[in-house]
């Protein structure tokens, strides 16, 4: 390990591409090298550096569950140079991946509790990893509630999975779209995530809340959760600062003394409150 | 300079301006630095002497400085030139600025209008220093391969801190070409190619706009003679399109043309 160049990516072949929403794709990736596949493991919440050689690297989470072996998935929105190049990749192409990096959701500690997932827009992917992780170990948890919102019906990602989750009796799924984003067929809620959450009023009894979304959504969701009776240490979120290296060297993702890439990206709300307002 | 302090005091006291951008004492005896005086009591910190070489006009377009409110700016001739060029490029508004000009004789001369600066600068034309003219001449007389090698070597210490860009009053773009990566016009790396591309790009974007204040050269921590590039281009402007000086005519060299512009190399 010590003699390895930490910047060399694994080569991963794109096995499957799913178009999730306009500009949003999911890649299923398989290791080119079997030994690397064997040795690889990760936990819910971790992320990696995905790259196209000659273009560059981009940071996003691993969106598949660690309980699903043999592949990893990532979901990204085409936005900058690297994600634009990734968007052009086809099934069968080889891309680079470095990781896993960062800490994880303490899912083992949540045994016997209820879970409340709250996500907005393109922030469902980091949560999907935990959701599937929990669903694959369903018996370990009590109630599972998912509140997910996007700008419009079109922008909802993982539409098939949402449908599947919606049908399952052991999941309470609340989906919502921003006002104006609904279609005539839309059966879910219309409204912003925090207010929809407040209306849905899931119990905070023995429950962990996991929140992922744009900063503005998170900002308005925390007070709602507190109102619902969640204590700070039972609320988790992820920070998504700009990163380059993934292991605390390149110097840009820190929030005060904390490096999001190394000490994060998963933080409980009480940990977050101790950080300076620099994220 | 008592006049300056007196006038700055008046301006702040009467609330005519919120901040006076001027020069204050620097880190060492041979330096001055930009200071932003917002309190009457601090006006006495203003100084003016031969070490006041920073081009303060650079601050006029900075968002964080603009937030301080209406400024007065201490403006020796190079700063006046930059102000006029910025005005010609619609970056400044006359009423939003008080210009405390300083003549080469260190006399305070307040300008009511940009047109006033234009008239004043008519008698203070840009003149490329003889020694630089000679240096440029010397470089131009080298064989082409030698010239190239000379520049690659001169640009070698450049580590792309972009101090040249940051110190230039005319580099006010909020997002510079080097920061665009689709396409990546300029290599991010400060290797010979990246350096060459950067300095060509910088010089070209200043062609016909550069007022020869030398802020870029003064800012360069590695002492790279990048001002030779803009000076040489200034010579080219003068020779091809008539003597350059900032004007309100809005006829920047590269945003205007004459149907009978002369050249000798197009077939």
């Amino acid at each position: 390990m010590d003699n390895k160049n930490i910047y060399i990516p694994y080569l991963m072949r794109i096995e499957k591409i799913t178009l999730e929403a306009p500009g949003v794709k999911t890649f299923r990736l398989k290791f080119e090298n079997e030994q690397e596949a064997e040795a690889f493991s990760f936990k819910a919440g971790q992320f990696g550096e995905y790259s196209i050689v000659g273009v560059g690297e981009s940071t996003f989470c691993i969106a598949s569950s660690p309980t699903r072996k043999g592949y990893i998935e990532c979901t990204f929105r085409q936005a900058g140079k690297v994600t634009s190049a990734l968007s052009l990749a086809e099934e069968g192409d080889v891309i680079g991946f470095r990781g896993p990096y960062g800490n994880t959701f303490p899912i083992d500690e949540w045994k016997g509790k209820s879970l409340l997932f709250i996500a907005g827009g393109i922030a469902l992917p980091p949560m999907r990893c935990v959701i599937w992780n929990a669903l694959d170990l369903r018996e370990n948890f009590k109630d599972i509630t998912i509140v997910y919102g996007a700008k419009s019906v079109d922008d909802l990602v993982y539409k098939h999975e949402l449908e599947e989750w919606g049908k399952r009796p052991d999941i309470r799924l609340v989906t919502t779209v921003d006002p104006g984003g609904e279609t005539p067929e839309w059966k879910g809620e219309v409204g912003f995530v925090p207010s929809v959450l407040e209306k849905a009023a899931p119990s905070s009894q023995n429950t962990i809340a996991i929140v992922c979304g744009p900063p503005i959504m998170i900002k308005f969701t925390f007070p709602v959760l507190e109102k619902l009776g969640f204590t700070e240490e039972n609320i988790y979120t992820t920070l998504e600062n700009r990163m380059k290296c993934g292991f605390g060297k390149c110097g840009r993702c820190n929030v005060g003394e904390v490096y999001v890439c190394k000490d994060g990206p998963v933080f409980s709300y009480d940990q977050l409150k101790l950080l300076p307002a620099e994220y | 300079m008592m006049d300056l302090i007196k006038r700055a005091t008046e301006l702040l006291e009467s609330d005519a301006v919120k901040v006076v951008i001027g020069y204050g004492k620097g880190s060492s005896t041979d330096r001055t630095r930009a200071i932003f005086v917002t309190q009457v009591a601090d006006c006495e910190n203003l100084v003016f002497n031969s070490q006041c070489i920073h081009n303060l006009a650079v601050y006029l377009t900075k968002a964080e400085i603009k937030k301080l409110g209406k400024p007065a700016i201490v403006a020796p001739v190079p700063v006046l030139r930059s102000i006029l060029q910025l005005a010609a490029e619609n970056q400044l508004t006359e009423n939003d600025l008080v210009i405390l000009g300083v003549t080469p004789e260190s006399q305070l001369i307040e300008f009511e209008s940009f047109a006033g600066i234009e008239t004043f600068l008519d008698t203070h034309r840009i003149k490329i220093d003889q020694k630089y003219q000679e240096t440029i001449e010397k470089i131009r007389s080298m064989p082409v391969a030698e010239r190239f090698a000379w520049w690659v070597k001169e640009l070698e210490p450049c580590f792309k801190c972009y101090a040249c860009r940051s110190a230039c009053p005319l580099c006010y773009c909020t997002r510079c070409t080097v920061e665009n990566n689709q396409p990546q016009w300029i290599s991010v790396a400060s290797h010979p190619l990246g350096n060459l591309e950067w300095h060509v790009m910088r010089a070209m974007h200043l062609a016909g706009r550069c007022t020869d204040c030398e802020a870029c050269y003064n800012a360069c921590p590695m002492g790279i003679p990048i001002h030779l590039l803009t000076k040489s281009m200034l010579q080219d402007v003068n020779e091809n399109f008539g003597t350059y000086g900032p004007t309100l005519k809005k006829d920047n060299t590269l945003s205007s043309f004459k149907p009978d512009d002369k050249e000798s190399f197009i077939r």
């Binding site: 560059g56 | 210490p157 792309k160 801190c161």
Partner: protein, 342 residues
């Protein structure tokens, strides 16, 4: 290892230089350029200048180059072939004429690259660099090494430290095995230890602040008007960080030429507005004051909290090279006067 002392004659330096070149070493040393001295590759002894307090650039690029290859690749539709730059041969370098501050900087640099996750390319480069420093007999108003646990004759980070004695010959202190090897290979040039000590031949560098006190004060100073005030004139360039011998933030960039190319590590600076800009447009450090705070806190709070060593060696380059004359000493001495919060 116990420090060993030798004498090396002024007249022997050139011989040493020639021997090193003869042994295939690449020598980087201060070279005069106008009013400045720059660390650069030198091929002849005469190119080296002695007339400098600190060089304009630091010596960090020898272990952390401005742009360095992490790997190269060759790509086809079916295949991507990656060539690890860690298996390259790195040059055998003698860093001649670093100041003790520059040498000390290799410690926090190494911490950044090798704490937690070892960075093999950095290590391989470092192993091949021999640091032969020269003590300071002069200092200027920007110097403050003595405020950050350094000093004009400090040996930290150097393999060999030369101090010019009153007669013009040098005391050579050898601190490491690497240094010992150099002495062994050139044993005819090194004589028994001189009687004269180095102390009276060193510059007097005034202590400007107490680093521990600053560290304690910074603990609760995140929100403070001082950051905006001290950085108001900041132009947002990267000069301070690029001349800094400790600053080691970087960017990872790819360069492609056809189907071949390289992934590079390039210097980057916390002073740039784009440094922390998210793709969404959100920027956690959207003001220059916040970026200046990051620079100070990183050096004087985060690093000492983590590794006991400040991210500053007091070379004074940042202040000297700042185009807006923002001097880190002003901030630090102002902090010294700040009341202790919390």
């Amino acid at each position: 290892m116990q420090t060993e002392n030798y004498l090396i004659r002024k007249s022997s330096l050139e011989k040493l230089f020639t021997n090193l070149i003869g042994n295939g070493k690449t020598i980087y040393a201060p070279k005069a350029k106008g009013d400045l001295a720059l660390f650069a590759k030198v091929d002849a002894f005469e190119e080296i200048t002695e007339d400098y307090i600190v060089t304009a650039n630091s010596a960090k690029s020898l272990v952390f180059p401005r742009a360095e290859k992490l790997f190269s690749y060759k790509k086809s539709k079916e295949n991507t072939e990656i060539n690890d730059a860690a298996s390259d041969t790195f040059p055998d370098v003698v860093l001649w004429g670093t100041r003790p501050c520059d040498a000390a900087a290799f410690i926090p640099l190494n911490n950044n690259f090798n704490e937690d996750t070892p960075d093999i390319i950095f290590s391989k480069r470092s192993q091949k660099v021999l640091v032969m420093s020269f003590s300071c007999s002069r200092c200027n108003e920007y110097c403050f090494c003595t405020s950050v646990n350094g000093g004009p004759g400090n040996t930290t980070g150097s393999d060999i430290l030369l101090t010019k004695l009153s007669e013009g010959d040098y005391l050579a202190e050898v601190m490491t095995e690497k240094g010992q090897l150099l002495v062994k290979e050139n044993s005819d040039l090194f004589e028994g230890a001189p009687e004269e000590g180095k102390e009276r031949n060193l510059a007097q560098v005034t202590t400007r602040f107490n680093q521990e006190e600053i560290q304690a004060k910074l603990q609760n100073l995140f929100e403070n008007p001082l950051w905006d005030e001290q950085s108001r004139a900041c132009l947002g360039c990267g000069a301070c960080t690029y001349v800094c011998p400790v600053c080691s933030c970087f960017d990872i960039q790819d360069e492609a030429h056809g189907n071949k190319g390289t992934r590079l590590r390039c210097w980057d600076s916390c002073g740039f507005g784009l440094f922390t800009l998210h793709t969404s447009g959100h920027n956690p450090r959207d003001k220059q004051g916040g970026r200046w705070r990051q620079r100070i806190l990183h050096k004087f709070l985060y690093l000492p909290n983590k590794s006991k060593i400040a991210g500053c060696v007091g070379c004074g380059r940042c202040g000297k090279s700042c185009p807006a004359d923002i001097n880190i000493l002003d901030t630090l001495t102002a902090l010294q006067g700040e009341p202790h919060h919390g």
